[in-house]
Amino acid sequence: MHLHSLLIVFLLSFACGQDRRITPVLNPGCENCSTTLVYIKADGSQDTVHQLWDFTRGAPTIIYLITKQSTPLNISWVDELPDKFVLPEKPVYSFAASIDKLQEYNDIENNGHIDNKSPQRELPLRHVWWRRGEHQLSGKEAMLHMRGHFEERRQRGVLDMKLDLLPFKDYAVDLPHLIHTANSTLVDISLVNLTSSEDYNASRFAIHFLMVSTDDRSDSMTYSMRKSLDDEHTPGVFEIFEIKTPKSSRSDDGGFLQFRPVCYTEPERSVSSSTNAYITNFTRTSLPYAGTLRDFYRTFDGNNLLVQDMYISFGLPGDGFYRQHNYTSWSFTIGYGVPPVESFSLFVIIIISIGLGVPVLLALSGITYVLVRRCKQRNPPERFTDDE
């Protein structure tokens, strides 16, 4: 099993052409805009992966577009908002994920996750005002930190998002140490100091995801829970969740979302501040009437566009609800191709080989030693016979 997974990782790193050349641009075609849209072009040996990180219309949206190699994508702008996305030819594949709202729910039964029975309230992100924090857009890394403030007077708090694309395969620096590759972007979301409704005394927040892919609209995304033996990178958490677009489940070249069912209640992420994350079932829906997703997929064939949504909710029974820490942060990766599989670290392999090798060597040398001794004793050297 272990060898098997190693082999897969090894082969994949060849097959997918992990090393891509990335060229990130902020607001291409509207350099002076105060809004934020990052466009990253990642050229590989076979194809080009275009990524859009869009914060221009409130709801944070990540769009992946796979085209033939070096196909340019042009964006035209109207009033500091992206209007048209123009490709010279038909794209190979595209998928997207967007967080269009938060859902506050009153977890009366205190079981942590969101369900239909609990009273709920929407917090649409349409009017969230995003401020650009630190960012780094170079050939080595594309990183963007955004802080979103709600414009309504009643709703305070900050929605913090950090997107990071590093064009090589490695474990993320922070817990839960997800694996990022040249084909996938690491996303951290934090819900900081959100005011909860006064009439809810067991408030928790869930994130509402809209997922789009250029698959048959009657098809469905799949999610699976995989158990790994290795919790070295996420102490105590053995599960990995993966959401795959239909194409990804069929042929491993679609889109995926990968995350661990764990989130953190303190900015300093540690095992003691960790709590559970849950995913709900998918439901079929349609593109929102306005917004970047609608603009982007306008030219696509409607029958060939799958749109589904789901919630990610956070909490554990008896953890004191959201108000206990007024903080929840969670991470996922979104990417193209085969979701990365973790492998045993060198340390583990070294311990096992030393641990097994030394006793065996010792036993072998011991046996020889004893045999030699026995032989000597059976044929005692002449000095003894002399003595007698």
Partner: protein, 514 residues
């Protein structure tokens, strides 16, 4: 019925040995055995309360893994030294009876302080409680061993030791079964950390029961001493000299390496195991407790039988190596597969009991009898030292690197003990040692060498290896020397043995007289 017997030695001497009230009678001794078993029950029961209520400690008292692990290591810390001192104090000052009551009282007080600390949710008080509990706990074990030797030497000693081990494990097992339901019951009346505190108060009652057993046993022993006239021999006993340690040979130190390294892969695993089963195998808390208690349960059930098995077959080192290898297999299975943890844990439990039955008697084969106490003390002390440091360390590994790394650490420890075991095997067979002989072979050796040779042989084997490399005249000289030392050792050993015989087997004398 009992009052007149205890009133005066002259009268109690008149009790017929055939009566079950007579200390030499089988029924009487087994009643004492029962009390001895219950003497340890309390301390073992309370030792593992944090383990059985791990989740609740984390949720109610808000302890992180490292803090939680500290509850265990603070128990072990004092005993790095106190095993020695505790035993020594009993030998020199307290005597077995008073010692038992004193240590048992300390254990009880410790358990109560700990419960109170949880009740008011003061971490320092919890730590203090566990510390006090630890001071009494391990020394209590030493005294109870003294009791067992005093009452059963030359009779059912091996079986009784096995049974003692079983009963201690039984205490832990019962604890893992009972605490969760008790906690739930208490939770209907109390909330927060108070319910945890009250649960622990209830648990500390077992220590009180043990204390009562200690007092009754003390009285029985006092009576037995009067009836059997043990007192004279006891005053003759000479205290051990710490300088004797210098004469222990390398095989003994390798054996202590196994004592430390092997047990590191068992006890810390049980302490942290519950959450491991919950996280990795999605077990419910009660299920996880059941799996976790399997190790103790199996060792409780199997120890006496493995004791008999090894008594019959001998070849201790082979058994020890086999059990280390199967333990490695068990940890491998837990670390690298998703097979039901029952498979791994049952294997672990079986190997653990096999090792315990094979390993501890080895000390007696290596070390002369008059140093046995010190030798066992050293084993126990280094083991405690290992456990104390490692349980903290293990908690940090889990928090920082996860359970796989923890398993890797356990495997590392097992590899170390495997290496030590293989080394002992090699050294022993290179010297035609007794460690790996079958009982008949051992008997042959002992009849030829008048018994003490086997220990002397092992103790002096390093000299032998030197001898063979030297020239032809030296061997005869050193042979004489070693014969001298053997004579001395034999003399000493014989004296001690007769002392023990006089001390422990008056009952057999009585029956012969009869």
């Amino acid at each position: 019925m009992e009052a007149p017997e205890s009133s005066g030695s002259s009268r109690s001497n008149m009790v017929q040995p055939t009566s079950w009230c007579h200390p030499a009678h089988r029924v009487h001794r087994f009643f004492a055995l029962l009390l001895m078993c219950f003497l340890c029950f309390g301390s073992y029961f309370c030792y593992d309360t944090p383990g059985a209520l791990a989740d609740n400690f984390k949720n109610d008292a808000h302890l992180n893994t490292s803090q939680f692990a500290l509850l265990y290591s603070i128990y072990s810390w004092p005993n790095v030294v106190l095993c020695f001192i505790g035993g020594y104090l009993v030998d020199r000052y307290f005597g077995v009876r008073l010692g038992t009551v004193i240590y048992m009282t300390i254990v009880f007080i410790g358990a109560v302080i700990f419960a109170f600390g949880v009740y008011i949710n003061a971490f320092w008080l919890m730590i203090l409680g566990r510390f006090v509990f630890g001071i009494g706990g391990e020394s209590l074990q030493v005294v109870v061993n003294n009791y067992v030797v005093l009452w059963f030497k030359g009779k059912e000693l091996n079986m009784v030791f096995g049974l003692q081990l079983s009963f201690s494990r039984f205490g832990s097992t019962v604890n893992f079964w009972v605490m969760e339901p008790v906690y739930r019951w208490v939770a209907t009346y109390y909330g927060g950390y108070e319910r945890l505190g009250v649960t622990l108060f209830l648990a500390s009652l077992t220590c009180f029961v043990s204390l009562i057993c200690g007092v009754i046993l003390g009285w029985m022993d006092y009576r037995a001493e009067k009836i059997l006239g043990r007192q004279d021999e006891q005053s003759n006993s000479e205290p051990f000299h710490l300088t004797d340690i210098r004469h222990f040979k390398s095989v003994f130190w390798l054996l202590s390496v196994i004592c430390v390294a092997y047990y590191l892969a068992i006890f810390p695993f049980i302490a942290l195991g519950k959450l491991f089963f919950e996280r990795k195998f999605d077990f419910l808390p009660q299920q996880a407790n059941n799996v976790n208690s399997m190790v103790y349960l199996l060792s409780a059930a199997l120890s006496p039988f493995f004791g008999i098995l090894i008594d019959k077959t001998g070849r201790n080192m082979t058994w020890v190596i086999i059990s280390i290898v199967t333990t490695i297999g068990a940890h491998f299975m837990l670390a690298f597969t998703f097979f039901s943890p029952y498979v791994g844990v049952v294997t672990l439990g079986i190997s653990y009991s096999l090792l315990a039955s094979g390993l501890w008697p080895l000390v007696a084969l290596i070390v002369p009898e008059n140093q046995l106490g010190t030798a066992y003390g050293i084993c126990q002390a280094v083991q405690n030292m290992g456990l104390a440091t490692v349980i903290i360390f293990a908690g940090m590994i889990v928090d920082k690197y996860g359970y796989l790394m923890l398993e890797m650490f356990f495997l590392g420890c097992l590899f170390v003990s495997l290496i030590a075991a293989v080394l002992i095997y090699i050294i022993d067979s290179a010297n035609n040692g007794v460690l790996n002989m079958s009982p008949s072979m051992r008997e042959a050796v002992t009849t030829i060498n008048k018994e003490t040779d086997e220990t002397a042989n092992l103790l002096d084997h390093e000299d032998y290896t030197d001898q063979e490399e030297t020239d032809s005249r030296r061997p005869s000289e050193s042979l004489d020397q070693s014969i001298n030392t053997r004579d001395v050792a034999q003399e000493q050993s014989d004296r001690i043995r007769s002392r023990y015989l006089a001390q422990i087997l008056p009952s057999s004398n009585v029956s012969e007289r009869q």
